[in-house]
Amino acid sequence: MFDLTGKCALVTGATGGIGGAVARALHARGASVGLSGTRQEMLRELAAELGARAHVLPCDLADAAAVGALPKQAEEAMGQIDILVNNAGLTRDNLFMRMKDEEWDTVLSVNLTSAFKLSRGVLRGMMKRRWGRIISITSVVGVTGNPGQGNYAASKAGMIGMSKSLAQEIASRGITVNCVAPGMIKTAMTDALDDGQRARLLDAIPAGRLGDSADVANCVLFLASEETAYVTGQTLHVNGGMAMI
């Protein structure tokens, strides 16, 4: 099950904890992977670790021209894009009343607008081949909200609405569009929490632990597979029971 031999996947934010785990999971099932991110050294290290079928595609998603060029670069490197994983994201947390325009704009632009442009960019090939998987990494806070994260939550909720709309447009062409919504996962983002914050957080998670990147990656693999061809427009929550939505 979940064999991806011959499929080509573009993963953004591949140097992050979740992005790297996603790339490894897809690659382990036989997919070629295009590793996109801003930190070239880390991309090269990941590609070297994976060996064959791994391609380094540096791209700063804050740069509109670079976003526009990325699908073509990935197609040149791998031949085609069957699976797009919109994983790259950043936070610029601030209380709503103090949030600056650029904090809002940066988060919406990198997290949501780039996902729109990349999804649009890969559609042509997927439509022609009558097969495609677009998976966007959203967040539990896109559904629940979170104080201090008005911009981030808006971008993640936006991904869900965007995915549901696109899913309806192209379901008849064999392309599924879904979201995976992690809760609290052990990454650089959650490492920044202090002990008090961490303890309060664990109280709210029935599973009693933070998630691993692999917990998220396995769900991406599931939605990327042939076996989930009839699942589209959905958001799969991966949060240890922290929110049951």
């Binding site: 042509r124 439509m127 022609k128 447009e169 192209i170 008849s172 062409r173």
Partner: protein, 78 residues
């Protein structure tokens, strides 16, 4: 019939899965040939590939009949 017209009709027949005799010049993709809006986008993609031209979005919106497509491609190729 010009080569362009014949090729356009061939693409329409293949893509929309309609009978050849229905694909007359005046036929509207949506009203007469049962295409939906996504089919028309795919038709434009197929024209672009077959004829090696780029069809900008504003021109694509005006290609609603077989004749519209033939006209656009004739002028693009001339």
């Amino acid at each position: 019939m010009s080569d362009i017209a014949a090729t356009v009709k061939k693409i329409v027949i293949e893509h929309l899965g309609v009978e050849a005799e229905k694909v007359v010049e005046g036929a509207s993709f949506i009203d007469d040939l049962g295409a939906d809006s996504l089919d028309t986008v795919e038709l434009v993609m197929a024209f672009e590939e077959e004829f090696g031209v780029e069809i900008p979005d504003d021109a694509a919106e005006n290609i609603q009949t077989v004749q519209d497509a033939i006209n656009f491609l004739k002028s693009a190729k001339s």
